[in-house]
Amino acid sequence: MSGITDSPATAAAPRTRPRLPPQVTRLGIGVLQILGGLAAWEALVRWLEVDPRIVPSPIEVLETLWALFLEGGLVEATGITLLETLGGFVIGSVTGIALAVLLSECAPLRVLLRPYIVALQAVPKVAVAPLFLIWFGFGIESKVALVISIMFFPVLVNTLAGLDSAPEEQLELMRALRATRWQTLRRVKAYVALPYVFASFEVCLVLSLTAAVVAEMLGSGTTVGLGTLINIYGSRMHSAGVFAVLVVLSLLGVAMHALVVWSGRRCLFWLPRQG
């Protein structure tokens, strides 16, 4: 940049405009991007005279979203889907990490379980959803079960790879300092594995939201989640309703992803920042 814009305010020539802080600029660009996309959507729908039952205009979607929000059903459904996703996420991660630690510390168990893990991992989890419905009913439990099954293997496999990747020199240091197995696990291996664990979270969180929605769409008698709403509006040819739910799902996914990335940065404080 030239020296003029960087000079102190008192010395600045009147023709130089005050500069906005970069965060404001970035936020402004983001808002413009979204508004531009919505405007193009609205223009296309009007110009091509698309049937609103097939593709509604963004204004219709927003109106529907607002109406559903006021009615209260959407908030409740969002809460239920969020509960299923986060519940499954937490349970799936904790059990996946726990089994990874167990397998990394106990080589015979690892050899024993490997074929089962490989076989189960290869099964498309969505295909198991009907079984979960039979076993756990049409309530929240069957959805949480599907989310757990989606989370479990990637977290297990990634954590195991992370625990295995502890540098030999660090393990040797711990041996030289007569560290117990538990101390080596807690003070070295856990930290080495943590970036791997967060990488699996980043991938799986959006998948787990998908799993919750799919499970709801496959069968939900007693509880109404966002997937159930999509089914209801879909069967009524209410495209604007489906779009409204999709907007909520997209916002949920983005928010959860941001949360994982943010907490990853907090937890992995010793790693050099990327990007």
Partner: protein, 263 residues
């Protein structure tokens, strides 16, 4: 009385290696004799360097004394205790600093005591402060290892090795990766630290000048199999300084050693 302050049976710090041989079995089943017929005794408080070309097994020898690698025949003894695993009264510094990147400098230095679990927080804090001053990094306690230069990291690693005030200090080419100037500087610091309590030091290096400058005695190793081919006393006066490097005796001993080392 606190655990750390207790004097445990007055460790002398004598290191003895007797009849030591080490064989490695390769993947195809062939055996390699890495070390053979190694015998030496280091009296307490002596600074001894093991000097040899790369691949002579000097690091393996150090690892056997450290209890990190088992001997094939014979073995190592520390104050009449046979080495069967890492000894609590032995400090070790590796070729690389091996600082844990998620811990501060202070936490890294304190690690041996934290693992032992017999020290109070106040005892650890006081000891770490003293060591930080000793390695001339009094302000660095709160910094992370990756913020330090290679030389600073190695100083922190040496402080960690000294934390429990070990009777024996094992060092595996700790300055090998540093530039010549930093290395000479750290040689002086190491000697200054060593003069305080005079632990027994077994120092592996392939640098002749470093071995002469630091040591009371140099064990020269030959290759195939790794064995000790000469045991040379270094009669240079202590404390040593920059002037020592200029003494005729320094150059003469260096030349003698160079003539012995196989190529």
């Amino acid at each position: 009385m606190s655990a750390a302050a207790q004097v445990e049976a007055a460790p002398e710090g004598e290191v003895r290696v007797s009849g030591l041989a080490k064989r490695f079995t390769g993947r195809d089943g062939t055996e390699t004799l890495a070390l053979s017929g190694i015998d030496f005794t280091i009296p307490p408080g002596q600074f001894v360097s093991i000097l040899g070309p790369s691949g002579c097994g000097k690091s393996t020898l150090l690892r056997v004394v450290a209890g990190l690698t088992p001997a094939s025949t014979g073995g190592a003894w520390i104050d009449a205790r046979r080495v069967a695993g890492p000894d609590p009264m032995v400090g070790i510094a590796f070729q690389r600093p091996v600082l844990l990147p998620w811990m501060t400098v202070r936490q890294n230095i304190a690690l041996p005591a934290e693992l032992e679990g017999r020290w109070s927080a106040a005892e650890i804090a006081a000891r770490v402060d003293a060591l930080l001053a000793m390695i001339r990094l009094p302000e660095a306690g709160g910094r992370m290892p990756n913020e330090l230069s290679g030389g600073m990291q190695q100083r922190v690693a040496i402080a960690r090795a000294l934390l429990k005030d070990p009777g024996v200090l094992l060092m595996d080419e700790p300055f090998g990766a540093l530039d010549a100037l930093t290395r000479e500087h750290l040689n002086d610091e190491l000697l200054a630290i060593w003069e305080r309590n005079r632990p027994t030091v077994l120092f592996v290096t392939h640098d002749i000048a470093e071995a002469v400058y630091l040591s009371d005695r140099v064990l020269v190793m030959g290759v195939k199999p790794g064995r000790i081919i000469a045991d040379i006393a270094i009669p240079l006066a202590r404390p040593r300084s920059e002037a020592t490097r200029g003494e005729p005796a320094f150059a003469r001993i260096g030349a003698e050693l160079r003539a012995m080392i196989p190529h």
